[in-house]
Amino acid sequence: MIAAQINQRFPPPQFTETGHQLPHLTAPPPRLGALDWLDMGVLLACLALATWLVLRRRQRRELMLLGLFSLLYFGFWRNGCVCAIGSIQNITQALFDSSYALPLTVLVFGVLPLAFALVVGRVFCAAVCPHGAFQDLMLLKPVTLPVWLEHGLRLLAYVYLGLAVVFAATGGGYIICRFDPFVQIFRLTGSLTMILTGVIFLLMSIFIGRPYCRFLCPYGVLLGLAGSVSRWRARITPDKCTLCRRCQNECPFNAINKATPRTLQIDPTPEDKRRLVIRCALLPTVIVAGLWLGGLSGDSLAKAHHTVALAERIHLEDAGAVTGATDASNGFRAEGTPPEKLFAEAHALVHRYVLAGRLCGAWVGLIVGLKLIVLAWRPRRPEFETDAVRCVACARCFEHCPQEHKRRQQKAEINGVLAS
């Protein structure tokens, strides 16, 4: 069955005279149905186990072991495919292209981590995502980035998510998979550029906690948004916070929000109120500006679509603006389809890209506008707490919380008493 599917997708050339042996495929072959179910089962089990480890066991070492397993299984064994991050694109394509049949595995990999995040926060990032686990295992000498830089760079992930949706919805390709820095390392093959990109990310991971997850991962954006409404997400301590600040010092991801002690919790000043009103008023402007800019970029983004690229090539060849011909243009001319038909299709696609670009621009505008509004607020936090969006439930803060140490000691004593 696998061979049949491979043959159908990639018809091999005939080498009957020379007896040339075809090499093995470098991309992962299609999975048999039963193995698909195995993958889904492993994902569910890992998510459940990660939830238990984060919320009940609260043990960093065990989470690391689970992360190592995920890295080996979903990363190196399954070659990073199917992956939850890339599933965004499949789901988007299924929403916009009625001829595309969404595989159940992809749907489950896309939805299950989000469902868990809605209830218990980003446990998927904690130890189930091979990308996150790979970077986390590399983190040796964490450097705390300034908060302003953290927020600025995180905007890239929202833009990346918007672009990924634009390209998937318009048939322009799966950019998340194409520019995934780790999947080439998982497969031990691929373009040198992407392998080097992956290596650079891993080297950065020694000092900067999870750079891809924090500043680029589009699925992390969705998980963060889902996690922000979760009721039972990871807490630094179930007991009273002593405001020792150790958790904040130890978090390599800037995911701990500072406490504002009662003495400093003052009512908003007139300056605060004015700032808030201005930024609220600014929100529609930023959205409209994003809408406009996104529309302008649609024409250029459309070049990523193979039909538009071919139409452009044919047009430039006809106009004498380029010399020679490509395989695609030769094939098109041999096919005999009138160029006008191709141009009409290309124009329709450009129109779709302009529309999609507008929506993407509006999305980025909305995020920027909301960020500015949130940053205008005067926070009121009685305790240090994990940031609902940014926390990846890595359990580092547990390990350094004195209250957690006390709790563990008490638990050990109780267990000792019970055992005796």
């Binding site: 005279e17 020379t18 040339h20 090499p23 470098t26 590399m138 040796l140 908060v147 302003w148 927020h151 600025g152 760079l153 905007l155 890239l156 031990l188 093959t189 040198l192 392998i195 405001l243 020792c244 600040r245 150790r246 500072k258 406490a259 504002t260 002690p261 400093l264 003052i266 800019l293 996104g294 302008l296 024409d299 250029s300 459309a302 070049k303 538009v308 690229a309 139409a311 452009e312 047009h315 430039l316 006809d318 106009a319 004498g320 395989d327 006008e340 141009f343 009409a344 290309a346 124009h347 450009v350 621009g361 980025v364 920027v368 960020k371 500015l372 940053l375 205008a376 005067r378 926070p379």
Partner: protein
């Protein structure tokens, strides 16, 4: 003892790390070398294979060549996949080496690193500090947004370069699309359309076109559509892509229309308005000329239209006026009628007025993009109503004009006169044609001349059946004329010898057109006569438009577009739809 073991462990660790580092560097070097040898995809474009394929196209039955291609293909594949295997091996080795290096490094760092001194817990941030940090963060978000905006701005500098869309584009986008295209169309692109009066080369020949042997606008037989034309005129339709353009005018307005070639739907109607200037008075024209006699021209980016009152303008394909100006006065007897010509980005206008001694005639070139003057050349000729045509002689373009007394050619790039023949007289209305190396020029009611480009004397002269208004057409062997009284004549192109003549009881202003293998004559009464081009007269078909018709028809593909008095018609064989 324990200290000794620790030192030994550190040294062994260091040695293994060093070995792993060297191993990784070697594997990385190998990987880089393999990568530099080319990609698997490059197989397809291997120059050796391409060269052999090219040979095979010329000698498709050469079995030895086929074997050679197969063997070379096999060899290339073998080499490529060997390199691929080597690449996989090197990648694995690099990963292994890197892993050992990292694990030992991590172990060494964790075991031998200096322990940090206990830290004092800093006090919580002061509230104003917190707000200050939040505002700095807001600034960082805005800065990142600015970087993204700059990136988008860079991105928009490279839009997809596609031909103008066939359907009307939004007004704001039309100009941008034209700007994104190469500045002017290629000759091949021009040949695929009917961009000017009497077609791409002004000869009235549509070789690949077809026409049904009969049609009738009254019954709708073989008439695809019929659309009312808002304002009158005698200009001919032009076609670019899926659109038909037409001009129309009355005493108060000059208009350009775009129709959908498939349905006849009027897509837009653009009113010419010269910015900042009062509209010139309507031209004084004869009834037989109209206020919209010059035919428009298009380069697929814009459509250009000139009117007898001197107003000229360019419109993009969305109907937006790109530029407009007044180049008048154009007054002459009967009314100005010369159609526009376009070479690359030069809009060429033949303005012939008065008598020779008036020195009013000139050839003008405008920049098609901006409408600004490029050059003007005075012409020592009398007023004329013929249109200039662009021909190619020995690979070089020439703009051919006819007006008494000169048949004269210019370089369309700079207006330099290339050659002239002093042979014409009277009020020249027929336009010249160029076919099979011979130019046919007409001095109305007097003579027809055969002239070879560059010659200073005429090759032959014919003095009977000379038309007064219509232009000739040629199939490369003979040329055909019809005069306004219905006399049709066929003569040899190279010698001017008359082969046949036949009188049709009808009147003609529209020039004859060669549509595929049919010679089409459309009469003023709206009758369309289809003749078989050749050495004897043979009528093979007839169509009825049912309306007065004075404009030359525009054939393209399986369709024929004809402007009549009130309607624009599209004729097409039913089975072609």
């Amino acid at each position: 003892m324990q200290e000794h073991r620790k030192v030994l462990l550190r040294q062994v660790s260091f040695a293994v790390m060093l070995a792993a580092a060297l191993f990784s560097v070697a594997a990385g070097g190998l990987l880089a070398w393999v990568e530099s040898q080319g990609k698997v995809a490059a197989l397809v474009n291997a120059p050796e294979i391409a060269k052999l394929h090219e040979q095979l196209r010329k000698q498709p039955k050469d079995e030895a060549l086929k074997q050679q291609i197969r063997a070379l293909d096999h060899q290339l594949r073998h080499d490529t996949f060997r390199r691929l295997n080597l690449s996989h091996g090197a990648a694995r080795a690099l990963l292994f080496g890197g892993l050992v290096l990292f694990l030992l490094g991590a172990h060494g760092y964790l075991v031998f690193r200096p322990r940090p001194a206990p830290q004092h817990h800093p006090r919580p941030a002061h509230h104003d500090e917190e707000m200050h940090m939040r505002q700095t963060t807001a600034l960082a978000v805005v800065a990142m947004l600015a970087i993204i905006v700059a990136f988008v701005a860079l991105l928009t500098r490279h839009p997809a370069q596609l031909p103008a869309p066939p359907a009307p584009a939004p007004a704001a986008g039309g100009g941008q699309t034209a700007a994104a295209l190469p500045p002017f169309p290629t000759p091949e692109e021009i040949q695929k359309n009917w961009p000017s009066f009497r077609g791409p080369d002004g000869s009235g020949v549509a070789k690949g076109a077809s026409l049904p042997l009969s049609f009738d606008a009254k019954t709708g037989a073989n008439v695809r559509w019929k659309t009312p034309i808002p304002l009158p005129g005698m200009s001919s339709p032009i076609i670019w892509g899926g659109s038909v353009f037409l001009t129309g005018a009355d005493e108060s307005s000059n208009c350009v229309y775009r129709f959908d070639a498939d349905t006849g739907q009027l897509l837009w109607s653009a009113l010419l308005k010269v910015p900042g200037g009062a509209r010139p008075a309507p031209a004084k024209v004869a009834d037989d000329t109209s206020l919209a006699a010059p035919t428009a021209v298009s380069d697929g980016r814009r459509v250009y239209a000139l009117f007898p009152n001197g107003e000229i303008a360019a419109f993009d394909f969305a109907g937006k006026q790109v530029w407009a100006r007044n180049i008048g006065p154009l007054e002459n007897n009967y009314g100005f009628a010369a159609s526009l010509a376009l070479h690359q980005d030069r809009l060429l206008i033949q303005i012939d007025r008065g008598v020779v001694e008036d020195n009013l005639s000139k050839l003008v070139a405008l920049d098609a993009v901006t409408g600004k003057d490029l050059w003007q050349k005075p012409r020592p000729v009398a007023g004329s109503w013929s249109s200039p045509i662009l021909i190619t002689v020995e690979g070089k373009p020439q703009l051919l004009t006819s007006a008494a007394p000169l048949l004269c050619a210019y370089n369309p790039l700079d207006g330099a006169e290339l050659w002239r023949v002093n042979c014409l007289e009277s009020d020249v209305a027929p336009s010249p044609i160029f076919a099979a190396g011979m130019i046919i020029a007409v001095a109305p009611n007097t003579s027809i001349f055969g002239v070879k480009p560059g010659d200073t004397k005429i090759t032959w002269k014919l003095e009977n059946n000379v038309p007064d208004a219509t232009s000739p057409v040629s199939d490369g062997v003979n040329f055909y004329i019809v005069d306004s009284e219905g006399m049709v004549m066929c003569a040899d192109l190279q010698t001017g010898q008359t082969k046949w003549q036949h009188e049709i009881d009808d009147r003609f202003y529209a020039s004859p057109t060669l549509v595929g293998d049919k010679l089409l004559l459309v009469s003023r009464k709206g009758h369309a006569y289809m003749l078989k081009p050749g050495d004897k007269f043979e009528q093979i078909g007839k169509g009825e438009l049912g309306e007065e018709c004075n404009a030359s028809p525009a054939p393209l593909g399986s369709r024929l577009y004809v402007r009549c008095k009130d309607h624009l018609f599209c004729v097409e064989a039913k089975e072609s739809k």
